[in-house]
Each structure stands twice: as C-alpha cells, then as structure tokens.
C-alpha cells in the first residue's frame, strides 16, 4: 500500500507545518532545557530519574496519541508504518557510539542545536564535528553497512509493516490491532515514567527533610501521599498543574518550563507533523540527516562541490532537500529567540580549552553514531516509539549503555 494524504493542502503547507513544528521544538526544548543525554546520564551520576521518567512519558504519550489518531481514522495505518526503518546491528552499534559521543560532547542532537543557538561555543564545535563524522560515515561505513542491509546480514530487509508492532504481534494492521499495540507500548512507558519520577521526588523530599532536621516525622508520615510526592496521577501532571502566577511567569519567559510540561508540548509538535505530513513525506520529527549531512553538503556547494553527485550515502540516501531542513532552520530560530527574549543568550566559551576539543571529537562520534544507527535520539528513538516500531527500544537500551560508558570515562578523566 502507498501512503495516503490526510490533508489536501500541498507541499507548501507541509513544509510550513514542519517549520512551525521545528520552531516550537527549539523554543520548548530551550525553555525546558530538554536534553535526552542529560536525562540518561543523571540516572548514573545523581541517581535522579526525574528527567528520564519524563522521556519515557514522552515516548509513551507519543505512541498512544499517534495510535489513537490511527484508531479513530484520522491517519491511515499505512502513513504510520510506511517509513519504518530497517533494523539490525547498526541500530545497536550506532546508538552506543552516539550515546558515548553525545555524553562526552555535552549534548544530544536536540540539545546540541538549541544550545548552539543559545551561544554555547562547545556545541558549535559539536555541530562541526558532527558534519565531519557524517562524512566519515558516508565514505567508510555506509558502503559496508548498505551491503549488510541489502543482503540481510544481521539486518532485516523489508522495513515498513514488517517493523510495525501491530503486524508483528497480531499479523494485522487493523485499527483494533493498532489500538491494542499502542496501549501495550504506551501505557507501560507512561506508568514507568510516572513511577520513576515519583520515586525521585519522594527521595528528594525525604533527603531534604533529613537534612533540615524533620526527617523522622516525615519518614513516618507516608511520603507517598504528601505534597509534591503525592499519588501517581498528580505527580505525572505536576509540571502542568500551574497557578495563574506560574503560568504568567512562564509566558513572560521568567521561568523555565517543567519537564512534564515540556514533554506534553513536545509530543504536540510530533502530532502536528504526523498529521500534516501524512502521505507527503516522512511524517515524524527528524533532525539528524539535515544538521549532520546536509549542512556539510550545503556548506560545500558554494565552492562548486556537490557531494550528491559522487559521494556514497549522499548520492543514494540523502535527498537534496526535505521538510526536515526547514524544521532544523526554524528550530535554530526558535531556540535563539527563546534564549534571547528570556535573557539566557550569551556567547559562552568554556574556560577549559580542552572542552572545545572534547566537544568536537564527541561531535564526530555523534555524526558517525547517528548515521550508523540510521537516526538520532529524535529521528529514530522518539520517532520509532510513535511509529509503533521496536527500533526505539533497541536504541534506548544501547544509548543508555553508551552513556554509562561515557560517565565512567568522564569520572576517570576528572
């Protein structure tokens, strides 16, 4: 089956929707300081699951909402699974390299872009390193990788519905099977995210009480039912439960967004492109190909070099332009305006010059990793949860492993 258009407005509308989505993505991520790598590394460094829980909620909500749109018939199932990736060794290997490199460099693909737009020089160099890494991937790894993909060596060969959980579980892409698969994937993720957040907040409350001398009474006072560490549903929505004063502060950019408010807004940006891009293009958030691959390609064009004419990967896997280009450009604009208008913008050069070298070399690893995995933490991991695939889970565990190694290495270096 071929994808079907959901909205009849043509490519200008699709590109505009991706641009709006990119702007919101940059704005919200900057205001919420939303970083996948920080969320994961905090699990190993401070044992805090607050942000990691928010990530799991993001994945779960994305799966549930896209599944719901298919179930109620707004988006055909084919538009959900048509662009599902192949799966294989490269997802695991790439995600480990990416997790390691991004932790060393100090930012995932999303935070690299919004921090670069907020003036962090280390992330500028990470971006440059990522372009170099993408080129290394293209000429060194891609010829081998595409061979294994074409021949099914530790790789699936079809993609699309064969990577679609409703089909894998029920051999059907009916609305019922999509609904059940979305619930099976999304509900446990949201629940786990809420539980992890609750645990961290309870622990924080308890630690605070112990250090302030009221520890014994609070320990005995059932922390699960008190204040910020309350019952499950209110914990999950804590970030969105705003008083008028808080909402005003957030709107006037005096106060950053909470993790869960950011999560819900980010899920909204994904739904915007999921509906508007259906039938026209890859209707999910995707930022890797553009910033790593295309930016280098674009930079070289004024010098008369067109990588798409003869360089592997550039000449067979990277369209010269697609909606993600506008998404990335507007992400940068959105993040810049958010940081500028809130007073956060400042060109920041790290005091330790070696941080610049680490940023660049980490960026090279990020470039190699994300292209090897066929996508980044947004374009593959988050997106694949919304696609109801299983590559997102592979990527998540492999990336956690890469982050864990990087945390160990950083401890040795310090």
């Amino acid at each position: 089956m071929l994808p079907e258009h959901v909205l009849p407005f043509g490519y200008a509308f699709v590109y505009a929707a991706f641009g709006v989505s990119g702007f919101l993505l940059g704005w919200v991520a900057q205001r919420g300081n939303y970083c996948f790598v920080n969320a994961m590394s905090s699990v190993f460094t401070t044992r805090s699951y607050d942000r990691f829980g928010a990530l799991l909620i993001l994945f779960g909500v994305s799966a549930l909402m896209t599944g719901l749109l298919v179930v109620v018939g707004v988006v055909p199932a084919v538009d959900q699974y048509y662009d599902n990736y192949f799966s294989g060794w490269y997802v695991v290997v790439g995600a480990v390299i990416f997790g390691f490199g991004a932790t060393m460099a100090g930012g995932c693909n999303l935070s690299m872009l919004y921090r670069a737009a907020s003036g962090y020089v280390q992330n500028w160099l990470e971006l440059v390193g990522m372009m170099v890494g993408t080129y290394i991937f293209a000429v060194v790894i891609w010829p081998f990788q595409s061979y294994t993909m074409a021949n099914g060596i530790l790789s699936t060969k079809l993609g699309a519905y064969t990577e679609y959980l409703p089909y894998d579980l029920f051999h059907s892409v009916s609305q019922t099977s999509v609904g059940v698969a979305a619930a099976l994937l999304g509900v446990p993720l949201v629940a786990l995210g809420l539980v992890l957040q609750r645990r961290t907040r309870s622990k924080r409350l308890l630690d605070g009480a112990l250090t302030s001398g009221t520890g014994i009474s609070l320990t005995m006072a059932a922390p699960a039912s008190a204040g910020p560490a309350g019952p499950l549903p209110s914990i999950g929505l804590q970030g969105t439960r705003l008083g008028f004063a808080s909402a005003k502060d957030i709107l006037l950019l005096r106060r950053p967004y909470g993790a869960n408010l950011s999560t819900l807004l980010l899920a909204g940006t994904l739904l915007l492109v999921f509906v508007s891009g259906a039938g026209y293009t890859f209707n999910y958030l995707v930022i890797t190909s553009s910033d790593g691959g295309r930016f280098l390609e674009y930079i070289l064009m004024p010098f008369g070099v067109n990588l798409a004419l003869g360089t592997p990967w550039y000449n067979d896997a990277l369209p010269i332009v697609d909606p993600s280009v506008l998404m990335v450009v507007m992400l940068i604009v959105g993040a810049f305006l958010a940081s500028y208008l809130s007073g956060d913008f400042k060109v920041r050069v790290p005091r330790q010059r070696k941080r610049l070298a680490i940023g660049f070399s980490g960026g090279v690893l990020v470039g190699v990793g994300v292209r090897t995995a066929l996508g980044c933490n947004v374009g593959l991991m988050w997106t694949n949860f919304a696609q109801l695939g299983y590559d997102g889970m592979l990527f998540l565990f492999a990336m956690l492993f890469g982050v864990w190694i990087a945390v160990k290495v950083q401890r040795r270096l310090v």
Partner: protein, 94 residues
C-alpha cells in the same frame, strides 16, 4: 540605579544578535534559491534520481521558507529596534 551604570550594563550583543538572526534567515533563503535549486538540477542532468527532489517539493520548500523568512526577519527587526530605542534612551539620559 544611575543611568551611567545602566548604560554600562547595556550589552551590545543584544543589539547585534537580532541582526545576525535577520542575516541568517535572509542568507538561508538566498542560498536555497541559488544553490539548492541548482544542485537539484545538476542531479537531473547527471541522471541521479535517487536523491533528486521533484520540482513541486522544491517550490513548496521555497514558498514556506519565504513566509518563514518574512516572519523571522520581522521579529528580528522589531527586537533590534526595541533595543536600539532602549540604548538611545539610556544615552540621552546621560
């Protein structure tokens, strides 16, 4: 707080940054018209249709980008004028 201290605290980066934004978006639009279309045409000429993008898509990209450029450039100019007025007001008080 004296106006002198306020003037000293005025960051010229706040004046320059919106101009950088305007130059970035206008430059990106010009770049897209000249180079992306040109590179796409080169692909057709060389027979590489794997990464070629149909003209309807390129036109859609340019149309949406033009609107985005107008909006972002306008926002940048408004912010620039606001900070310029702020700077001039501070200087006139000195």
């Amino acid at each position: 707080m004296s106006t002198q201290v306020t003037a000293q605290r005025f960051s010229y980066a706040r004046l320059i940054a919106p101009i950088v934004l305007v130059l970035f978006v206008v430059g990106w639009y010009q770049f897209s018209i000249v180079y992306i279309q040109g590179a796409d045409n080169q692909l057709v000429a060389s027979g590489n249709l794997a990464v070629y993008v149909p003209i309807q898509q390129v036109n859609g990209y340019l149309a949406a980008l033009l609107d985005a450029t107008y909006i972002a450039a306008s926002a940048g100019l408004i912010v620039f004028v606001y900070h310029l007025a702020k700077l001039l007001r501070i200087r006139s008080r000195r």
